[in-house]
Amino acid sequence: MDIALLGNPNTGKTSMFNNLTGSYEYVGNWSGVTVEKKVGIFKQGAAKLIDLPGVYSLNPLSKDEGVVTRFLLDDPFDRMLNIVDASQLERNLHLTLQLIEFGSPLIIGLNMIDVAKNRGIQVDVEKLSSVLGVEVVPVVARTGRGCKDLAEAATTPYRETKKQFQVDYGEEIDKAITKLEQLLQGESSHSTRWLTLQLLEGNPYVKKYLQSYIDMADLDGLIHSTSRAVLAGSEVRTIEQFIYKRRQAAIGEILKETTEVKGNSGQPLSEKIDLIITNKWLGLPIFLCVMYVLFMLTFDWLGFPLSDALDAFISGPITEGISQLLDLVGASKFIHALVLDGIVAGVGGVLVFVPQIFILFFFISILEDSGYMARVALVMDRLMEMVGLNGKAFIPMMIGFGCNVPGIMAARTIETPRERLMTTLLTPLMSCSARLPVYALFVGAFFVHQKALVVLSLYVLGIVVALILAKIFSNTLLRGETSFFVIELPPYRLPQAKALWKSTWEKGKGFVKKAGTFIFAGSVIIWLLSYAGPGGTNVQMDDSFLAMIGGVFAPLLAPLGFGTWQAGASLLTGFLAKEAIISTMNIIYFVPDEAGLQGILANTFSPLSAYSFMVFILLYIPCLATVATIKKETGSYKWTFFSMGYALAIAYILSLIIYQVGQVFGL
């Protein structure tokens, strides 16, 4: 049995998904975390739960909201589970009524009854259930209270006993429903009532769906004649508004019967926090402080010693153990070299950074779960508006700090296509966690005393370049269309340890997995390329195939300060995955550990060329996975190649300026 999970944004849908399915799922407290539908299996294994993006209505404004409408139209499923926020019942019921109109079996999980109670709202669950004609189960998704009951209700066979609630939209709309029924001639399996209402509300997906059965002119005629008839005797201006008002009136009646409001219990804690966090003058400084602490913890205070310890462990006991094991089984010299110089150096060099990457992901998860992300969008909006974007575009960019791929997917929540495309193109400039090992390595070798500061400067550089390019793009390539910004600021919620760990692991496991597969295979290939050359096997590294390939790029890179075949070869592998740069360098320079590599690097790089190299790595190209995501999201080869081309050009120019100007100043 397939159950679709639907609800408004910020109603705890994703926590409910976690509670019901027990799978590791990504939770977020800002609209748009669920950018693609995700499927989980119920704990009892009885059914599949499909998590869909949060929507306010089935008539979509943004691309991720369209996912829901398209799902309802095209995908088969057995029933719908609607999560409703009891503290915002009025707004939530608009979606519920549309789901009832859709007509598939429906169950309601009434979430946040505790929050509602705190705000003095008492919901009579049984009454609500009997009025709507839908089973309602009260739950607190955050603590898991009631989730068992809900799981049971959702998975037990459906008994259609009650008559479901119907909004009275008046005679004219009923006529339109009958008319559409005739036009369809029974060809669609969906409820005609729902199709008619969505069509009249201007739902583009439903209109397109109906066009496959009915002539466009007939549809427009139906919309026109109905609008005229409906609006004739009323003061509302559009039919969309008319339908909304009718629903609103019906909801008013439902609420009167089912809820009781006992005065307001003073200013909620969330608003008190907002007095400081989104304070007119403190908002931006607080955000910068949060970012600073995040970087200090990741690179300096906590992450660095942990990575160091792990490095010592891998290069010491582990390498030794493997070496002895190989001796024990009598492995050949070739295997010995392949395992230790290739795999251990390549994969180990990347795994060393697992602690730092997990710390970074942990903090991004806190920012998401607490509801702070939406505030960041608010605080940053003025700046983003100046460059032709809106504050919401900052959220994909922040997520891009973790990994560019989910960052680009999060851009779907941006409503206007122009801003969405721009955010998609610029998010790769955000320094993702895979670039972090490269910085960590180089700052460790060249900037020991200003580690966090140098790394922070790279992150800031990425943002600044993105903002400048946004301004340029919006004045040249992507002109027109006004920018748009309305954002819901969900109440602050204390992130829960379990959910935090889950979402940190969910994000970080990709990195570990990549080390075990992609980087593993890559290390073997790179090592083999460095082992073999035109002159046979076991050649001097400088005579190997790898040196030949990297050497092609060396002259091009010389003006940037790193014109060696080693840099060329590692940048080439960096396109596959940014952390592969580290694996490649470890293999090329024949060292199994970070400290050894740093020692060698000090001979081939100067601090200036090291910085130029880091800037180049920050900007030069989105990794393969990101390129694939850009292609998927934009659906255009032109924009995909553009995203690669402009990055390469910007990286080259900036690194050139940094190195050449730096040399003039004698750095």
């Binding site: 707004r91 608003e271 907002d274 003025r382 910004f485 819901e488 109440p491």
Partner: protein, 74 residues
Amino acid sequence: MLSMLRKGEKAIITDISKADELVKRRLLDLGITEGSEVCIKCKMPFGGPFMLESCGQCVGIRKNEASCIKVEGL
């Protein structure tokens, strides 16, 4: 106009028809329309967005959009 309200002031929306279509639709999704009571919680500096509170939820909108929404003070 909504943009003229001071921080902490409450008002009722009387006319939202001049606002951008998308803004109107999104505010409607959030249950904010003509007749809703709103309160300015915070204004960001340099002509930045406003934070509104209406029926227990907070929403951010831009200043120029707020200046298209007519309100009546309470």
